[in-house]
């Protein structure tokens, strides 16, 4: 037991060091881009995981929060010249409040009714922003190009600074989730997922905790929206509220495995490169073959790997443990 603890600690330290140092050697802009997308979606996957993996409310409409967050900071910047860091924080607060308010009615729904409600929410938000003249309607907003730097949250010469900012976000959310897993909040979330009646009988205010979960999830997702807006320097409804964002986020969690911290990171680290690379190699002709591969991949995962990668890891662990026990029995 102690040994496995030590090895996992060593592995953790190695992984952290690798995620900090190795990207420094990545010079190709496209490869840097993939790194940025991996950390961004790892954060998005974690945010989804809080709601879907721990509380058990499966959202396929995270783009609603993502898009809203991207517009909050962008609009403030374009219209009032407000620094994107302030926009970043406000995006978090506003989308969290939005998530809470939306959650008031929506968290009463269960299972697929909730899932479809989130799809509906994503579509409604997209249509609203497509027709809202003040924020540029369907054409969206272009962010002003300014001098690059940490203060302006714009970087032109290299994409790596974005990567490190994303990595920092990921680090913070992992710390939060590590704490959550060991606190009343995490236990209550899981209790609600496992059995709502038991949760209520244990004195848990399930409505309140579901709202907390959706607010946290929405807030983080909204901040990710700001991040992508600063990264691509424009926002438009078709891009920021795209349904595929919602599906990809959910898929990452499924692929990696839900209800644990490592799952979304693994999911993102494998899925995003596949999606980005297939787009780069085959998507340039505009034929849709990249998305074909992506779609086929989703189907294959669901059919052959429905427990997620963490499920595989756990199976291997269990098998190893059983073997050790068997050997122990022989002795």
């Amino acid at each position: 037991m102690k040994d496995t603890n030590r090895t996992s600690k060593t592995l953790l330290i190695l992984a952290v060091l690798a995620s900090i140092i190795l990207p420094l050697f990545v010079k190709a802009r496209f490869m840097q881009h993939i790194l940025v997308m991996v950390v961004l979606y790892a954060v998005l996957g974690q945010a989804w995981n809080i709601l879907g993996g721990y509380v058990g409310l499966v959202s396929i409409g995270q783009a609603a929060f993502f898009g809203l967050g991207s517009y909050v900071s962008s609009y403030l910047q374009v219209e009032y010249g407000i620094n994107p860091w302030i926009g970043f924080a406000l995006a978090g607060v506003i989308t969290a409040v939005f998530g809470f308010l939306v959650g008031l009615p929506v968290t009463r729904l269960r299972g697929r009714y909730f899932a479809i409600a989130t799809i509906a929410l994503g579509q409604v938000m997209k249509v609203l922003f497509e027709n809202w003249q003040r924020v540029g309607a369907a054409t969206g907003l272009m962010l002003p190009l300014v001098k690059e730097g940490l203060g302006t949250l714009q970087f032109h010469t290299s994409k790596l600074p974005y990567y490190y900012i994303g990595l920092a976000m990921l680090g913070i959310i992992i710390l939060f989730m590590w704490y959550m897993e060991r606190s009343r909040l995490g236990y209550y979330f899981k209790a609600i997922r496992e059995n709502e009646d038991v949760a209520a009988a244990m004195g848990i205010n399930k409505t309140l905790y579901k709202l907390i979960a959706i607010a946290i999830s929405a807030g983080i997702t909204g901040m990710c929206g700001t991040f992508l807006a600063q990264y691509s320097l424009y926002v438009e409804p078709e891009y920021m509220f795209n349904h595929n964002i919602s599906v990809t986020i959910a898929l990452i969690a499924v692929f990696g495995g839900t209800g644990n911290i490592l799952g979304p990171i693994l999911g993102s680290a494998i899925l995003l490169p596949i999606s980005e690379l297939s787009r780069a190699w085959m998507g340039s002709t505009g034929t849709g073959i990249d998305m074909m591969i992506y779609g086929a991949f989703i189907v294959l995962i669901c059919v052959y790997q429905p427990q997620g990668l963490m499920g595989v890891v756990r199976n291997i662990q269990a098998r190893a443990r059983a073997q050790v026990e068997r050997r122990g029995a022989h002795v």
């Binding site: 074909m292 779609g295 989703i298």
Partner: protein, 286 residues
């Protein structure tokens, strides 16, 4: 004016209803929310288009053939994909059809380009006047056709031996299997039937609607909302929900502006489901 709009919504709702009925059937029997249903409609529209292009067959006339083709396609899809995830976790069951949808839509784009197409010289054109209301003939044909197919499916499920066996599965899987019902095969039929509904609807739509790879997405989502409105598992509910949505879409779209019509449909879903968490007539749990 409102009478005019309501009639338009009613006609649209009948076509939605057929799509929704297929969805509802699939959900009722195997608990799968088929997000690829819209893509099936799209495939059927393309099939009608090509039959028209190469054989000169009008979509309305080819609708039985298309339905049959889609039935076969559905059975195939069931045994290749859907049947394999039925025992899997909730998320896998939910997302697999998303993947299928993305795959099919982009396959269409790859094979047939993203261009908009239309059937040339459709058999049914123009409008007819019915008192103060004018009705577009192809839409009338589509809605009547949809109702006929919906009626046929309803009859099949309620009255034939195979249909009753399918119903038995949706009521109690375990018991059905103990009674010697071959669940795998019948699930395949049920999925095929659901696809046939999408197929027939697609053929009717091809008569008057643009055809492009993404055309089915909105039909699929709207049908999904119709099913949820009616209550998952209730076929009649799906039809009623669909007609309701058709009317909300046309009448509401006229009032608040047609760019908001789908937002309105989804808002209606949110409001109704929040008031009645299991839909208007549903008995299905989550």
């Amino acid at each position: 004016m409102y009478l005019q709009l309501t009639v338009g919504g009613l006609l649209l709702g009948c076509v939605y209803g057929l799509v929704a009925m297929g969805l509802s059937l699939i959900y009722g029997v195997m608990g799968i929310v088929n997000f690829a249903h819209g893509a099936f409609v799209m495939l059927a529209m393309y099939a009608s288009f090509w039959l028209n292009r190469f054989l000169g067959l009008d979509p309305v006339l080819s609708s039985p053939l298309i339905a049959l083709l889609m039935f076969g396609f559905g059975v195939l899809m069931y045994h290749a994909v859907i049947g394999k995830v039925l025992e899997g976790p909730f998320l896998a069951r939910l997302l697999v059809t998303f993947g299928l949808s993305i795959f099919l839509i982009n396959s269409a784009q790859f094979l047939w380009s993203p261009d908009y197409r239309m059937v040339e010289n459709p058999m049914f054109r123009g409008i007819i006047m019915l008192g103060p209301v004018f009705i577009e003939r192809p839409k009338l044909v589509a809605s009547i056709g949809s109702l006929i197919v919906a009626g046929l499916i309803y009859w099949f499920v309620r009255k034939t031996k195979t249909g009753l066996a399918i119903q038995a599965i949706s009521l109690d899987r375990m018991a059905a299997s103990l009674m010697g019902i071959n669940i795998e095969r019948l699930n395949g039929y049920a999925f095929g039937l659901g696809c046939a509904c999408a197929g027939a609807a697609g053929a009717f739509l091809a008569e008057f609607y643009y055809i492009f790879p993404d055309v089915g997405t909105m039909f699929g989502l709207v049908a999904l909302v119709a099913v949820a409105l009616g209550g998952f598992g209730s076929t009649e509910g799906a039809l009623i929900g669909a007609i309701l949505i058709g009317i909300i879409e046309t009448v509401g779209g006229f009032i608040v502006g047609s760019e908001f019509k789908y937002a309105l449909v989804f808002l209606a879903y949110l409001v109704i489901v929040i008031l009645r968490p299991r839909g208007l007539m549903g008995w299905g749990a989550d």
